[in-house]
């Protein structure tokens, strides 16, 4: 069993990036947690995830397993705290080239067939891209997954399938998930803690 992880966010602030966002945010999560975050558009949910992955300038203290973000090489940090963006990017010709090994049984968990491996990336539907981008991130074995609206374009059936895979990640691999979604029903269904992000703070 992999070791337990814990993520600590203390007084995270984006005012260096956007003048109007003056609020600070704090969070705490450990292995097994799925933290749901909802909030109105423009409040900074995606910025929060980007800051956790250290992709944008920010202030405040972020720690993983008692190690501060700025003491870890950025590429190592991002492998441990991995962001799956709302719109995933695919830069090579076929799906397969973006993976080390893409196994059939992993694909079938998300209702995808192995034929998708040889598909050209421009032939993928938005829903297929979303599911594949989660698999691509899981393959890197992160400690923390940051999900930005990753099931926004999936039907209920596929959404449930994706949730199952992600619950497996937190329960069997001691992972932590921070999940940003507009679907409050979904968040209530799967999250261990739910937060409402506002311009004043996290509630």
């Amino acid at each position: 069993m992999p070791a337990k992880h814990q993520l600590l966010v203390d007084n995270l602030n984006f005012s260096v990036l956007v003048d109007s966002l003056t609020s600070s945010y704090s969070l705490h999560a450990e292995s097994g947690d799925i933290i749901g975050i909802s909030g109105t558009s423009g409040v900074g949910k995606s910025l929060l995830l980007k800051a956790l992955a250290d992709l944008i300038p920010h202030q405040g203290n972020i720690q993983l397993n008692n190690q501060s973000q700025d003491t870890i090489e950025p590429y190592i940090w991002r492998t441990k705290v991995m962001l799956v963006p709302a719109e995933s990017q695919w830069w090579l010709e076929t799906v397969n080239e973006h993976f080390n090994i893409l196994e059939e049984h992993t694909l079938s968990k998300l209702n995808l067939t192995k034929a998708i491996k040889d598909k050209q990336v421009h032939q993928l539907s938005t829903g297929e891209k979303q599911r594949l981008s989660v698999l691509r991130a899981l393959e890197k074995q992160p400690d923390v997954l940051l999900l930005d609206e990753v099931s926004a374009n999936l039907d209920l059936n596929n959404t449930i399938a994706l949730e199952k895979v992600l619950i497996e990640f937190v329960q069997e691999q001691q992972g932590i998930i921070i999940w940003v979604s507009h679907d409050t029903h979904q968040l209530e269904r799967i999250c261990t803690k739910c937060y409402q992000m506002t311009y004043e703070g996290m509630f």
Partner: protein, 265 residues
């Protein structure tokens, strides 16, 4: 063989065709008729002015004057590159990157070919040094300009791909390498092409000049080949230097892509 000297009257005869062209463009409503006339007049004034400066420098053979004109040429070339960029890097970094890349390659190669290859006495004899540096600066400028422009455009258009690669745990330099390399290739195409077709399609400009002024074709060809090699090396290395500097300047110390450092013209 004697050089046939052209007079103002000779140039006036030829200029009739420029005026004619301008008139035809005007009648065809193409526009651009006044631009052609203005460019022709500028061309005349700038080159006559250059002739006076060169004559002055050639007569004096003063090292500081040669250095001064070299630096002025360098700064103008760097500024020209900066002006032609669609996306510039904040705080005049484009200007800095262009000028330093130009300086390192063109000044070194000019110095090397004067000291080791041509060996005039003294090595900085302006008749050799100034035109050599000039032709290198002019051609290298085109290469850097294309390389930097392609690179910054590619970074801007593929910014989401670069960020995605960062998210998946690549370092900044790994994430930008494909874009840098394809920009280098794009900028090298004209250089490789011009070297490859030289002599088949046209007689290169410098050689034409030498032959018109009475130099033996074989002598002119040797100079021309040297110039081609110098231009290619100088352009190639400065394209590498400038794109490498760009790939450093768009990330911060935490390997974050700071796309706001690129500002559109």
């Amino acid at each position: 063989m004697n050089i046939i000297i052209l007079s103002n009257l000779d140039l006036l005869y030829i200029s009739i065709f420029i005026v004619l062209l301008s008139f035809v463009l005007y009648r065809m409503n193409v526009g651009y008729s006044s631009e052609i006339l203005i460019a022709a007049v500028r061309n005349f004034i700038q080159l006559i002015f250059l002739a006076y400066i060169l004559q002055f420098i050639f007569n004096n053979e003063e090292p500081w004057q040669i250095l001064l004109i070299s630096i002025v040429m360098l700064l103008i070339a760097g500024w020209e590159i900066h002006l032609r960029q669609e996306y510039r890097i904040r705080r005049r970094q484009s200007l800095w990157i262009a000028t330093t890349s130009l300086f390192i390659t063109t000044f070194f190669l000019t110095w090397f070919s004067l000291q080791i290859v041509i060996m005039p006495e003294p090595w900085y004899t302006p008749q050799y040094a100034v035109p050599l540096l000039g032709i290198l600066l002019g051609n290298t400028m085109t290469g850097i300009s294309l390389g930097m422009n392609t690179m910054t455009q590619n970074i801007y258009h593929h910014r989401h791909v670069i960020e995605q690669r960062l998210m998946l745990g690549e370092s900044a330099q790994e994430a930008i390498k494909p874009i840098r390399n394809s920009s280098i290739r794009t900028a090298l195409i004209p250089i490789v092409n011009s070297m490859a077709v030289a002599g088949l399609v046209s007689i290169p400009g410098m050689m034409t000049g030498q032959i018109l002024s009475g130099t033996e074709p074989m002598t002119a060809v040797y100079y021309q080949i040297m110039i081609y090699y110098l231009i290619s090396a100088s352009s190639g290395f400065s394209i590498i230097l400038s794109t490498w500097q760009i790939s450093k300047s768009v990330f911060d110390e935490r390997d974050r892509l700071i796309i706001s450092r690129l500002t559109k013209k």
